[in-house]
């Protein structure tokens, strides 16, 4: 268990060999985290462009990634540099404060410097959040507890199993079924 780093390494190794599908999986996995990170520096639709550029840079620079650090740590560094380069080139020096790479994910100072509440973005984000949390509240109690302990509290399957008093396999199954229920909700919104 806990083989996410190994999982990424394998995907990175395959992407280095030209398997774009493997890199696609990495994009799917980290796109929201990278977008969230970039959004702290760049506002609006430009954040999408910078995040996209970050992924493209990462793909092109994969040959230089030696695997000393975790893939997502390296990817975050690429994303932060892309955002900073964008700000430098566009003259939008909004992020005055230097951000340490380890804390970049949690850095929220730049939120004050940008206008993120464009109507369409608020509507989109709010609509998704409302639908998802409404669906969570409608879940059976055992599924709701398992999913919230995992996602909100960050507990491992083993800890959840100890807390709830059931086997790990049951926890795993409950979390999967909870996600499936939520997936049916957001799939209609996305598609």
């Amino acid at each position: 268990m806990g083989s996410d780093n190994n999982n990424d390494k394998e995907l990175v190794a395959r992407a280095k060999e030209g398997d774009t599908k493997a890199f696609d999986v990495l994009v799917q996995k980290y796109q929201y985290k990278v977008l969230n990170l970039v959004s702290r520096y760049v506002q609006g639709d430009e954040a999408q462009d910078v995040a996209q550029e970050a992924f493209i840079k990462a793909y092109r620079g994969l040959k230089n990634f030696r695997g000393d650090s975790a893939f997502y740590t390296w990817l975050y560094r690429v994303a932060v540099n892309s955002a900073k380069n964008y700000l430098m080139s566009s003259g939008k020096r909004k992020a005055k404060q230097q951000v340490d790479i380890d804390n970049a994910e949690y850095f929220d100072e730049a939120i004050l410097l940008r206008d993120r509440h464009t109507p369409e973005h608020m509507l989109q984000t709010e609509e998704l959040e409302v639908k998802v949390f409404e669906a969570i509240s409608n879940l059976p109690e055992d599924l709701k507890i398992a999913l919230t302990l995992r996602e909100m509290d960050g507990m491992s399957y083993e800890d959840i199993a100890d807390t709830v008093g059931c086997p790990i396999g049951t926890v795993r199954s409950r979390i999967f079924r909870a996600r499936e229920a939520l997936d049916k909700v957001i799939k209609t919104l996305i598609d």
Partner: protein, 249 residues
């Protein structure tokens, strides 16, 4: 049958667990090699069975994306906007860049021979690429052959070459001089060179004569050695034109 129904629950549970880093080594390999990025996708997409496998793989990746989105929403990690086609745009951009880089490399290799520029919208295949490579190779071979033949001819006619020395060592001075003159006149048929002493070893009988006329011989040898570089139309100022020879016979 919908695409969702093509993936069984066990595979979906693996995708869910992979987000939580809760996979065993066996499950991780199964997920990567058989579910998310089936290796048969690259082998033969034209086969109907592989098309079906590819669609299952695509749906599995989409499922991973939606599970990630659920996680991001619950953790309040969503950015300014949520673009469902973000990964598609990224992969499309990567593919476009790869194609343009390949085309750029091809253009660089043919740029010196590209005498016409392709107009925008000209979809004709680049057929000149192979022909230009062949033409370049032919030119290189021609130059190399010419250089080789020139060197060979020069080596045979050069007075201080081994071939010339070995031939002069076995003959008398007169015959040696005659053959040298004949060779030089083949190079420059309009000029007949006077016989001179070269750097071949003279016999004991001629050593005294050579020493007494050392300066003259040095000058003549210099003229002899350097007159070979001239073309047939150039007459060395140190050589004496005595007669023209006819080589037609």
């Amino acid at each position: 049958m919908s695409s969702d129904e093509q993936i069984n629950d066990n595979d979906l549970e693996l995708i869910s667990s992979s987000l939580d880093q809760q996979l065993s080594e066996f499950e991780r390999r199964r997920l990567n090699n058989n579910i998310l990025t089936n290796k048969t996708n690259n082998a033969s997409k034209s086969h109907p069975e592989n098309d079906e496998i590819a669609s299952v793989s695509d749906e599995a990746v989409k499922k991973l994306q939606r599970y990630s989105l659920i996680s991001a929403i619950m953790k309040k990690e969503c950015g300014d906007s949520i673009d469902a086609n973000f990964s598609q745009r990224v992969m499309q951009a990567i593919e476009n860049q790869s194609v343009s880089e390949e085309l750029d490399e091809a253009d660089i290799s043919t740029i010196s021979f590209n005498f016409y520029s392709r107009q925008k919208g000209d979809n004709r295949p680049k057929r000149t690429y192979g022909m230009k490579q062949v033409a370049g190779l032919a030119i290189a071979v021609s130059v190399a052959t010419l250089s080789f033949l020139s060197f060979q001819q020069y080596a045979q006619t050069r007075p201080d070459s081994e071939h010339f020395i070995s031939s002069t060592q076995t003959n008398s001075w007169e015959s040696r001089s005659d053959s040298a003159v004949e060779r030089m006149n083949k190079i420059s048929p309009r000029v007949e060179f006077a016989p001179v002493q070269l750097n071949a070893q003279p016999s004991r009988n001629t050593i005294q004569d050579v020493r007494s006329h050392a300066l003259d011989h040095e000058i003549e040898a210099y003229i002899y050695n350097h007159s070979g570089y001239a073309s047939g139309r150039i007459v060395s100022p140190y050589s004496e034109i005595t007669k023209l020879q006819d080589h037609s016979d």
